[in-house]
Subunit: 476 residues, 4 copies
Amino acid sequence: METSKKESCGLFGAFGKPETEDMATTIYTGLFSIQHRGQEGAGIVVSDGTKFRRCKDIGLVSNVFPEKKLNELIGHFGIGHVRYSTTGSNCIKNVQPLILEHDNEIWAIAHNGNLINAHALRQSYQKAGSIFQTTTDSEVLFPLLTNPKFKHQLCQERVINALNKLKGAFSFLIMTKNCVMAARDPNGFKPLAIGKKDNVWFFASETCAFIQIGADYIRDVEPGEIVIADNTGLHSIPAKTPSSRISQCIFEYIYFARPDSKIFTKNVHSVRLIHGKLLAKEHPVEADIVMPVPSSGDSAALGYSRESNIPLDYGFIRNHYIGRTFIMPETNTRETSVDMKILANPEVIKGKRIIVVDDSIVRGNTSRHRVSHLRRLGAKEVHMRIACSPITHPCFYGIDFPTKNELIAGIHDINTIRKLIEVDSLGYLSLNGMLSPFDDPENFCTACFNGDYPVPVDSTEINGKYTLESNQLIEI
Amino acid sequence: METSKKESCGLFGAFGKPETEDMATTIYTGLFSIQHRGQEGAGIVVSDGTKFRRCKDIGLVSNVFPEKKLNELIGHFGIGHVRYSTTGSNCIKNVQPLILEHDNEIWAIAHNGNLINAHALRQSYQKAGSIFQTTTDSEVLFPLLTNPKFKHQLCQERVINALNKLKGAFSFLIMTKNCVMAARDPNGFKPLAIGKKDNVWFFASETCAFIQIGADYIRDVEPGEIVIADNTGLHSIPAKTPSSRISQCIFEYIYFARPDSKIFTKNVHSVRLIHGKLLAKEHPVEADIVMPVPSSGDSAALGYSRESNIPLDYGFIRNHYIGRTFIMPETNTRETSVDMKILANPEVIKGKRIIVVDDSIVRGNTSRHRVSHLRRLGAKEVHMRIACSPITHPCFYGIDFPTKNELIAGIHDINTIRKLIEVDSLGYLSLNGMLSPFDDPENFCTACFNGDYPVPVDSTEINGKYTLESNQLIEI
Amino acid sequence: METSKKESCGLFGAFGKPETEDMATTIYTGLFSIQHRGQEGAGIVVSDGTKFRRCKDIGLVSNVFPEKKLNELIGHFGIGHVRYSTTGSNCIKNVQPLILEHDNEIWAIAHNGNLINAHALRQSYQKAGSIFQTTTDSEVLFPLLTNPKFKHQLCQERVINALNKLKGAFSFLIMTKNCVMAARDPNGFKPLAIGKKDNVWFFASETCAFIQIGADYIRDVEPGEIVIADNTGLHSIPAKTPSSRISQCIFEYIYFARPDSKIFTKNVHSVRLIHGKLLAKEHPVEADIVMPVPSSGDSAALGYSRESNIPLDYGFIRNHYIGRTFIMPETNTRETSVDMKILANPEVIKGKRIIVVDDSIVRGNTSRHRVSHLRRLGAKEVHMRIACSPITHPCFYGIDFPTKNELIAGIHDINTIRKLIEVDSLGYLSLNGMLSPFDDPENFCTACFNGDYPVPVDSTEINGKYTLESNQLIEI
Amino acid sequence: METSKKESCGLFGAFGKPETEDMATTIYTGLFSIQHRGQEGAGIVVSDGTKFRRCKDIGLVSNVFPEKKLNELIGHFGIGHVRYSTTGSNCIKNVQPLILEHDNEIWAIAHNGNLINAHALRQSYQKAGSIFQTTTDSEVLFPLLTNPKFKHQLCQERVINALNKLKGAFSFLIMTKNCVMAARDPNGFKPLAIGKKDNVWFFASETCAFIQIGADYIRDVEPGEIVIADNTGLHSIPAKTPSSRISQCIFEYIYFARPDSKIFTKNVHSVRLIHGKLLAKEHPVEADIVMPVPSSGDSAALGYSRESNIPLDYGFIRNHYIGRTFIMPETNTRETSVDMKILANPEVIKGKRIIVVDDSIVRGNTSRHRVSHLRRLGAKEVHMRIACSPITHPCFYGIDFPTKNELIAGIHDINTIRKLIEVDSLGYLSLNGMLSPFDDPENFCTACFNGDYPVPVDSTEINGKYTLESNQLIEI
């Protein structure tokens, strides 16, 4: 899949015993393991119950928190966030967790997902006098939390009321001076899991974070549920009005999550292995080798190879050293347009009939380049197998797909796509195939594959999605 | 005077012709000349009538705006600010101009002064749901400007209404997509002057900025007046309810302003020369030389020398290379406690009866160290002459004096002070003397010298002054 | 294999047509593809035939050359270097290419390998008055090149004479104002290949660099040969006195080189596949899955799986985001000592009999930690298979292995190692097995496996290896 | 005087008791006080008798040594240097002290002055095989110190032999593991003074450094003398062959030195006062005020005013905030060509007949701009008085004056200069006047005023001065 596909964020939270002062290191370790969910900014807020301490910046987890700063982040509970920013390098104000200080209260929030009514809520609150400082949809939670009408309410009641106003996809970590709250929207679009180790409670977008810190995966935060970790332990506010429909993001399995994570209780690698096998059954072809596009195609390629008995081989090599400031030299002609990130091994390619297994196709450009590179190196045949269905519709719940017109499968049928990317054959996994590993296939959102949007999106709100970004201010 | 004395800020604004794209360079040049008013942060916002472009950061003007950034600040009007931050190095969010984006409007504001009802206003607005993002008193202008009750009003009406709610000292530059507005509080505490060059209008805290850019000084913004520069020229909204009392800050002449500036229409160097002469009349003494504490005592020492006919000499040498990261080596014993910034020349000092002329004394420590250094170098007598009256009261209008108990003249009489700083004689300029250069002596604030506060300060608000700073959040 | 294993360097050179001004971009692209050979420093020198332009710094290729600098590196020929520094972060003086300016001549050199007589040569030259500025062994080439005795000689004669004085392992790129020279020591320890594209000649440590830039791999620089690229084309100075023995570094195949490179004309991935198959033949075991330690064990594990018919699976997941400033949180107890770089997937591990395939074992600590992690996650059996023989001896030709006493196989037999790393069985590939993919097995250095050093190392020189580093000067 | 006038360097050294670990802080303080002698780079080397620790960089003393680094500079003796670099910002290799490591010896050197035979020595040593790493003339000391012929000699004998080979102007601080040596050339061009405090010995280019650290000024290092501070105290190696002529740089009094320093035993401020008085006698004129160009004209203007009884006034105000990255906005027309560093006060200028006292004129551009600015502000008459004679010849001993053709007095007579800078009258101090404050006027170099070069400069060497800079290598 192309590198242009974007994920909204990753979350990690923890609530420990008061005598633990260095919870920030554990949050750092957890964030590090879910770095793949957002590589452009990271932040941690911790508290000792009195003060909040925050460090956040543009950049990777390993750069944002030098040891000196990590040591100053004193506190026994806190939340962290990794972010895929959509607005360039100087947007530090949008890096989360966001802090809300108001009338002697202090809150920190970290958000994964996309609120489809953020624009409408902002407009309405602005008309009532509210001022917004970031261009994130997440900030709309602030006026909801500080609404004077609910001033008399307890924190958690205000959180419940606030979340009830939101529409769309969200997993939230919300922190006060007393607790860390974890909440998922009623549809359960985005994952959020609960972990435990030595009576410390953790929340994470992916369970690989629990493996990384040596904690046990207990269960998921349920759709619509709010789970609160505080000095007295873990408390649940169950979903009051359960959603008429659970619609978990199936794309977490296809691309976003790490293979060693359980998402919605199911291991990602295992799902991908099954997808690969089904792909081999649905789209068999005679060939010499099966090779994955690393790393997101690895598991499905293994499944394809096992099912087809065509040997796996490693024809693509991934370069591990692409940094943030990496300059992509301009390539003038098609002959030299070699990908800097993934290079093909001529020894493996030459004279072979090759099945390339990739996780998905968005615009198609990258696939076309890779295929052309394989042909230059002497591939006899190139067969492309995609471990998901054609992506035909944009996502409004947090995946930054382009518009329908830019999606290659949004405007072309499979045979045309095959010609465009110049492969000898092309096979996509069927929708049924994608859902077959699950006992509850009706509980997944498949909108990007079939346009069945579980939460209706009206045109104003869709436009709203794109107009939160200021077009009035340029920070230099 | 000690280096610990702080000034609130300096302002510079400009409105040029649409074809001028590089007004930022002029604003930069103007800010550079008033750098002495705030050395910890600087910012510029410019506009081409469509977009705002902002650059701001911690640091000196010469560091905050590298050429590359200055070139990107495209626009024909804008405002700039130099700031004395009171909250440490990482407080970039408090560096002005502040930006307010709201409901398709965009504003930029820059403020010099101190609002004594900022805390009360913030509390009241927070109770109504407002959220504040900085810990500056200036931000309180935002909810006043966006108040939905006045939404139907024109920009400038809303500015008038907003400013009417403020109490205390302020000179404001306020910028919209159409204009730059300059406003002074009805008491006229802080200076703000109007300049002109080739049909471009300028605003500046000090007129030296006009000399620097080659513009003419036209007049001051009047107390209570709002002056608007836009595409059609310069417009005035005169003070509607003139203050019962004008109370301009006399300390601008004593210390803050550059000698080549006119403040409240009167040249600073000329006032200081008179002060020096009066000081010689009020406190004559036999001596060999008169020497200034550079640079703020230079003009007064010259006046003293002229009046007394005691020769001027340069016994103190100022080191020009003290930068922001300068490390002040710890000095273990009194013998070595030599000031790094101002060093004495033994050749001038030895065996002399010396009159030292300084602009003021705040805590007294620095004076004591200097005197002791002179004695070690062989001064026969040291007579201290201070070109203002004893500072006995704190200021609530923008000077960051310490509390009454920390002011040496707040708790000691002159004879005791003389003993504490170990001089042979000590003379302060009388209050009448300080005011004598002016035709309208009643139009000055002398609260720090006699406790006569022109705008009443109640105890809540005074405390409020100190609690805007968050004690809940530490940014690392 | 542990991350502590170090490689000396990677080289890339190019000589293009005078009208090509941006050869630096091609060198940058080439260096990027061999980044794995040295991750702590990088440098490029280019020339237009008149001036040399150099940029070098501590850090990764993607950080050392921001676009602005790359654009200033104007020239049509040049050389580049990636370095594994052994002396901490502030050693920029040791980052290559080194520049020698002398008597209107200018040279640049880049070196891969280790000169075992560097210490002796330095001592002798120092006694004669020479001054050394770096602590690299490479600098010893400078006085050899500038020796007044050979002043009358042509550049290339002086290079021949100079290289003849060196003992040990070296591949050199040497640049003058007219040419780029590539040289390998007579034993041919280190690789250096020749590439071509559109009449531009290239040199690279690994052929993957040619794939990356779209060039063809022509042949290797031969042991003892000097190849010169200049305006008139490519010229060879064949090895005059061929070494009595070719001894190419077999460890290039085991660990250093990228699988898509040809090293000494043979593809690395293909060799590793064979190694994996032989390993399965030599050390079969009943198990449920074969899993590689990524990435260096990937190819051998695939070979093992193919030969044994035991399914391959991905039980280890590599985290791609470990940066230079990454903080490794201290792990207090064995329970939490989880590797940050490679994490295991419990879903794959639990209840399985596992064959782990790794490229090599040096000290053994990392292997022990990984095995223990697998057992915690529920592995039923863990069998370790190593795709090389036990490393029993240090290397003096460029691999930074520890001393014999620190090498686990330097002091323990295989059964003891098995117990120490707590595996159910342990199998190393035999020396014959390692050499079996090659037609000329006698042409490889196997000193680290059997102590048969092809170039004798006397004890003085060995000590010398460690004393080039200054113990007199600390740069802060 | 123009800001383009350059000084070579400033030196500070110290040798304390072994139990003192933080001598670096004292050296830092000393260097800070002589920062005016070199503002582009700074370095300190200290030693505990075993190791050398060095920190150096481009920039001001207050930036180069952050507290963390200063604390790591552990040692009880050391030397420091401030440098005026002539080759752009990336020339860190030229920042001193330079380190020479050779054959288990380690040396550090810091140099003030210019060696007129550096080029010839470099050529000769290069022919013999020596390699140079910097483009400083100072480095030529290295092969002189390591000459194998003198290997058997003691350190100080080698230093004596090496210095004997040098021609031109030098004050050196040379440090070994046992001592700090201070040496002046036989002509005594450049100052170097000895200080003492609590049995710690100090060396400094100017005695103001002793005032700054609270030490006593003992005496100067004599021309030709070498003074050694070590564990046993202070030792002198008197000048063996005294120079036929002492020729101390008179320009130290005119411009370079701080007024509170004693240079060649005489206080700078006192000399300038006399110069100002003599200037008034030699070139009287009727006027309203005398005003200095700050700061270098301050003392002479005071003398002029005292002698002439024309009142002193401060018409120029110096801006203290010009940093390294300061952008000088381009000024299109003469009207706006206002100096950013020194601004005139219209209140003082308007309608006045003014005597401007400056220290010197080099090219004349700056003077012309200043005069024009005064006229625009309404000056009635402008009379320029220069406190030295016309500068007619370049300096080869360390002042970076331009060539004779660029010196305004090199090609024009005084009346022409008067017209070019557009003043009503112009008076230079006579050569006799300049020398009259001294008992030994024959012991000064006045070459830049009359072309009488005390050390002959042949044309090769003069050219050599300019060709040490590489024109072959550009560091990016």
